[in-house]
């Protein structure tokens, strides 16, 4: 068990990602942030707050992908989380999906499916706090807080003050 990012690291990573998103999209006029609950949604809020200090706050929404998962039948039913469409929708927008950990890529595949149901964005980009490798699908992140090489047996635990009392990322040992 070891802590790989503390609260300062997380704040700096989010600040850098905010700048990268603005730079890549030549400003924020076309950008919409879409967080994947639970922690991706909080990260999206934080990014919007940082962006407000740099330029302005883009529209923020959340997208629950539970009903689009391909592993639903492998696990007991899980509770649904909140979907809030951002102001102005996603039609023709540069949508930045935001999640805490990128692992197999299946969550993002489900998110792309869910997005397709809602509308047709101009582009879809992906921002994650942690990329821990072990992809099972041809998916990559455009913005990464930190690449953390892990063993497939370890798990990565992201804690955010909004729900976990503190900000940190730790690797939990083999279970």
């Amino acid at each position: 068990m070891s802590i790989v990012l503390d609260s300062g690291d997380i704040a700096r990573a989010l600040k850098r990602i905010s700048h990268e998103i603005i730079e890549r999209n030549h400003g924020l006029t076309g950008v919409t942030l879409l967080g994947i609950p639970t922690r991706g949604a909080y990260l999206a809020q934080r990014l919007a707050k940082i962006m407000a200090e740099i330029e302005f706050a883009p529209p923020v929404g959340t997208l629950d992908i539970t009903l689009h998962r391909d592993d639903l039948r492998l696990r007991p039913p899980r509770p649904l989380l909140t979907t809030v469409l951002p102001e102005g929708g996603i039609e023709g927008r540069d949508v930045v999906l935001i999640d805490d950990v990128l692992f197999s890529g299946r969550t993002i595949r489900a998110a792309l499916d869910a997005l397709g149901e809602i509308g047709r964005p101009k582009s879809v980009q992906l921002a994650v706090l942690v990329d821990r490798g072990h992809r099972q699908l041809p998916i990559r992140a455009d913005y990464v807080g930190k690449n953390i090489p892990t063993s497939a047996l370890e798990s990565v635990q992201v804690s955010l003050t909004e729900i976990d009392k503190l900000d940190q990322v730790e690797i939990l040992g083999e279970r």
């Binding site: 009903l67 696990r75 039913p77 649904l80 989380l81 979907t83 809030v84 509308g119």
Partner: protein, 319 residues
Amino acid sequence: MQSHLLSISDLSKEEAIQILDTAEELRKISDGPMKKLPTLRGRTVVNLFYEDSTRTRISFESAAKRLSADVINFSAKGSSVSKGESLKDTAQTLQAIGADAVIIRHGASGAAQRLADSGWISASVINAGDGTHEHPTQALLDAFTIRSHFPDFAADFTGLRVAIVGDILHSRVARSNVLLLAKMGASVTLVAPPTLVPVGAEKWPVKISYDLDSILPDIDVVMMLRVQQERMTNFFFPSAREYSRAFGLTNSRLALLQPKTIVMHPGPMNRGLEISAESADSTKSVVLEQVANGVLVRMAVLYTLLGGLPLNAGTERKS
């Protein structure tokens, strides 16, 4: 939770609230542009209806289709049942076809339980009304509707006053509602002529009254029940007019209600008998909301029963 929904007593309070919360999230999704969800793609849901139904059948059908399940509608009329086929043979036919869930409405109390326990089929069984026994999804959608009008009571109905009025004796809706409302903490009063109060109701977690006028001013929810003439094999009240005068929600009784009170009816309504047309169409009436909410709640039930790992598969898996 088990893989069937036969009675409200199968559910704990937490499981019931979980279903209502799921329906709440589904409402947000359905109100947006995401009308159709891929969740139950490739799964087959059979509507097995031995009794007539408009609302419940189309509600289940619509719920299953919005989750991308394949739906087979079966009604006893026009099927081999009219040639004398037994429930067992019909059930085994459905098993052979590969049904993942069977939604059954039957005139005999306990039919859903029989189907679930018999070993005839491995599908999930959902009770959509069995005789005068239970109609659990109706109780869930009623609780959902109540909750959306009284947001202070989202997780607990303690302090909420509900009157269930009319033909309690023949009403599976009343039985399921009494169980669920009591489970959630509401105080429930049954109002009916003594002939339409079932034997044993004094042991239910309810108060019983024979005087509607004294109840109405102090109530948050009035649930009117249909007078089920098709089940009445006896004379339970002298005349429709007298019933209406004593136990119907007439225009003058509508005026007794507080501004926040809502009027519910599971449908189909006998306008002019248990509810006046003016009451049924008033702003207090949430009858059409109940229908709309029915689809969401049934989606939540289908998702809970079919969406995950089959719970009777018995395999443990860490997340």
